[in-house]
């Protein structure tokens, strides 16, 4: 959904999040910039349970396609892993956590069809 900033800034946010949460920060994975590529993300999902979970910079870096997104999240949960979003401070550790993230996704997606700016003279 286009939520992004420079990679070094993302790393700062990720590092700070891990410090605050008392997690060991491993080398960050960088997704290929090819449109709709989630190859790196899928690779890291495969590393669970060797790693406890994945910290993403933002909720909006997840796949835009609902089926792909839900499949990835379910796979992480089935492997007893956790998915964290540093910018939003949101954690998906259980199935019941998914709705909160999905609501944010759906509203943001729907906002494209709503008024998004105010009238200026």
């Amino acid at each position: 959904m286009g939520e992004s900033c420079h990679q070094s800034t993302q790393n700062l946010v990720l590092r700070d999040y891990c410090v605050r949460m008392n997690y060991k920060y491993l080398l960050s994975g960088t997704e290929y910039s090819i449109s709709n590529s989630y190859l790196m993300l899928k690779q890291i999902v495969n590393e669970i349970p060797k790693v406890k979970g994945i910290v993403c910079y933002s909720v909006f870096q997840m796949p835009e396609n609902f089926e792909i997104r839900i499949k990835l999240i379910n796979k992480i949960l089935e492997k007893n892993g956790e998915l964290h979003f540093a910018l939003e401070n949101i954690i998906i550790a259980h199935k019941s956590d998914i709705d909160k993230v999905e609501n944010i996704w759906l509203v943001t997606k729907t906002m494209k069809d709503c008024i998004v700016s105010i009238y200026q003279d």
């Binding site: 939003e88 401070n89 609501n103 729907t110």
Partner: protein, 271 residues
């Protein structure tokens, strides 16, 4: 639609509240859920006692009003951050905060709301010039004009122990002459509006809802008691977001069934 000219299906009470808010830039009234407000104040009290290692019974009124006798200006920010972090960690806190003013929010914003992810806390000790909030409008720093602020005092607030706001009619004049009135810094701006602002007088048990696109702020608290107040922004979910985004700053708290269905709806396909 002009201000204070709302013609709709709103009830008499709703119209009265709406028109007051539009005309004055704020609405002030009794909390609609005193048990939620009491829950919040008691929870604060417990956290304060733990943070300050107080084991004896204390008078609720005086611990808030007289906290400056225990916490110094130097210690204040660390203390404030600790207290607000701990209460925000309580999963019930924001639900109670919303309940305090739910009927007013329904009238002034709507019933499908996005709420700020973290509630803020202000503690303003007497004569402390380190916790000042210079004149500002939230919209000048990335908040959407579709938001409003629910401001809830934990103590009685009056004179400089409270906050001020510039009424809409005066803000219109400021908008026209902004360059001249704003001067070189925020203190110049305050000087140019200080005789026009409304100082809020509000007791514990009441809430203040104000328009965050109107200039507001506080001054050095010259009273003998400390001010404790919380603030949190609300907006209708499907209205424009500026820099304060959904997810990191706001989250939907009352999505309704029709919107959930609508957001998930797909037309049937023939192929």
């Amino acid at each position: 639609m002009t201000r204070a000219d709302v013609k709709s299906f709103l009830s008499e009470e709703e119209t009265e509240i709406t028109n007051q808010y539009l005309k004055k830039g704020f609405y002030q009234g009794p909390s609609k859920n005193m048990s939620s407000l009491s829950w919040i104040r008691s929870t604060f009290l417990e956290i304060i006692k733990q943070e300050l290692n107080i084991t004896t019974d204390i008078d609720t009124e005086s611990i808030f009003d007289l906290i400056h006798q225990t916490v110094s200006v130097v210690e204040l920010n660390q203390f404030r951050l600790k207290v607000i972090q701990r209460i925000n960690e309580n999963p019930d806190f924001r639900k109670h905060y919303y309940q305090i003013a739910k009927p007013y929010l329904d009238i002034l914003v709507g019933n499908e709301l996005a709420m700020q992810v973290k509630v803020n806390l202000s503690i303003q000790l007497p004569n402390d010039d380190s916790s000042l909030l210079p004149t500002h409008a939230d919209t000048w720093s990335g908040d959407s004009p579709f938001e409003l602020v629910l401001w809830v005092p934990l103590v009685n607030c009056y004179k400089t122990k409270s906050m001020y706001i510039l009424p809409p009619n005066e803000n219109d004049k400021l908008d026209i002459n902004f360059k001249e009135m704003a001067g070189d810094h925020s203190e110049d701006l305050y000087e140019s509006i200080k005789n026009k602002v409304t100082w809020i007088e509000i007791d514990y048990g009441n809430i203040l809802i104000f328009n965050n696109s109107l200039p507001h702020g506080n001054r050095v608290n010259k009273e003998s008691e400390t001010r404790w107040s919380m603030n949190c922004r609300f907006k209708s979910i499907f209205t424009p977001y500026w820099d304060k985004k959904l997810g990191s700053f706001f989250e939907p708290i009352t999505l309704r069934a029709a919107s959930i269905n609508g957001m998930n709806y797909k037309l049937p396909k023939l192929t």
